[in-house]
Amino acid sequence: MDFSFFGTLGRILSESGFAAFADDPRNLIMILIACLLLYLGIGKKFEPLLLVPIAFGILMANFPLTGILDEGGLFKYFYFGVEHAIYPSIIFLGIGAMTDFGPLIARPSSLLLGAAAQLGIFTAFLLALGLGFLPAEAAAIGVIGGADGPTAILTASKLAPHLLPPIAIAAYSYMALIPMIQPPLMRLMTTEKERKIKMEQLRTVSKTEKIIFPIAVAIFVILLIPDTAPLIGMLMLGNLFRECGVTDRLSDTAQNALCNIVTIFLGLSVGCKAVASTFLTFETIKIIVLGLLAFMFSTLGGLLFGKIMCKLSGGKINPLIGSAGVSAVPMAARVAQIEGQKANPANFLLMHAMGPNVAGVIGSAVAAGFMIKVFGG
């Protein structure tokens, strides 16, 4: 038997992933990016539940020679759930089970704030077209402005699958950065007097109203825009589990175990698509910038409409709650609460801001459904 220790060692090294870096050093850059995202997720706690699996997915996908993305590879099967809009829809089931639509039912006008805060989606769509993206790509990029990760992922998977990783990373990164992005805009768009406005306590919403709400919304919205069915249907089913009082176990599973399991698969699947050849491009930088602009325009849209509602209500509505119309739940509502309390320590806007906040979830799903309808082919 011919065996050379050093010969074998040399062969192992020459056939290893380390040696393969010489063929495409961009993989090394992607590994560094993955490590940076892991740091942001773990060290800075930027949306860690998603950023950590996404970053690890990027790490795994950029190790050379693993074949993990090829036919028969593990991630190939994980990605099936993104490709067919399974994961975002299940995440929406969990979100529905976690969401209390009470503040929205108590003040239905909040829905208009949720609609106004979708301005960023359409503005970013136009800006993306201006930067040379194709219409379907621009639509997928625009949906980042909805500040809703699962919706952005679903739209990107249907309209521009090749742009999915930068879109998902931009969406989740900016959602984590909402406490930094929104306050300067909130202070810019509102006066001290407006920020001090104390809002009246919301009425009590009955159990029956809360049960009928998800059923009515599902019937109306899905019948009107059938493309919203996966998101709105699952969101409302999750909420029905929560409110109907006879499916507590299902509600608990949707909120916790199921949502957590799917979050792992969703994160890994999105991350694994971020390979050097498609991610390290100028397009990615453009998407990151457009995502930020989309978030800013959405916040501005909500604030502007908040100001209009403030005027129309005779100063009874604090325009700060308009910024919560972006659907990052509950982060955006918390930011409105913090800014309101800075202006007036006795101010309590959290529950008032939750109305536009959950309306934003419905609004972004409707906007995404519209984009899919127009550009989905």
């Binding site: 359409f122 993206f133 109306f220 959290l350």
Partner: protein, 107 residues
């Protein structure tokens, strides 16, 4: 400029209008549903005299005099209820005067 065209502006405008319309219809729909629910509940609820009123639950103490509402306590003593309300207030950052507890029930 890029792929911008009049059609693109039309799509963007239509999109935001549709989102507004959809949510505006929901905004109108909710009060109608609420009204129907209240009417149905009013009709369904029998005359107060016919209903044997359950023993009123003990109202919880107002912790530090800040909480003014009434709360039904089910298998929970007043001290525990006061602690729970104080913890909820602390965790949520909502002053007790703004919180409304309906019932606290031991599971």
């Amino acid at each position: 400029m890029g792929n911008l065209s009049a059609g693109a502006f039309l799509v963007a405008l239509s999109g935001i209008v549709i989102v507004f319309l959809m949510l505006a219809v929901l905004c109108l729909m909710i009060p109608v549903i609420s009204k129907c629910v209240r009417m149905t509940q009013k009709e369904a609820s029998p005359a107060p005299a016919a209903v044997p009123t359950p023993a009123p639950a003990a109202p919880a103490p107002a912790p530090a005099g800040a909480y003014g509402g009434e709360v039904a306590l089910i298998d929970v003593d007043e001290k525990t209820a006061a602690c729970i309300m104080a913890i909820v207030s602390h965790e949520t950052g909502i002053p007790l005067s703004e919180l409304v507890f309906k019932k606290i029930k031991a599971l």
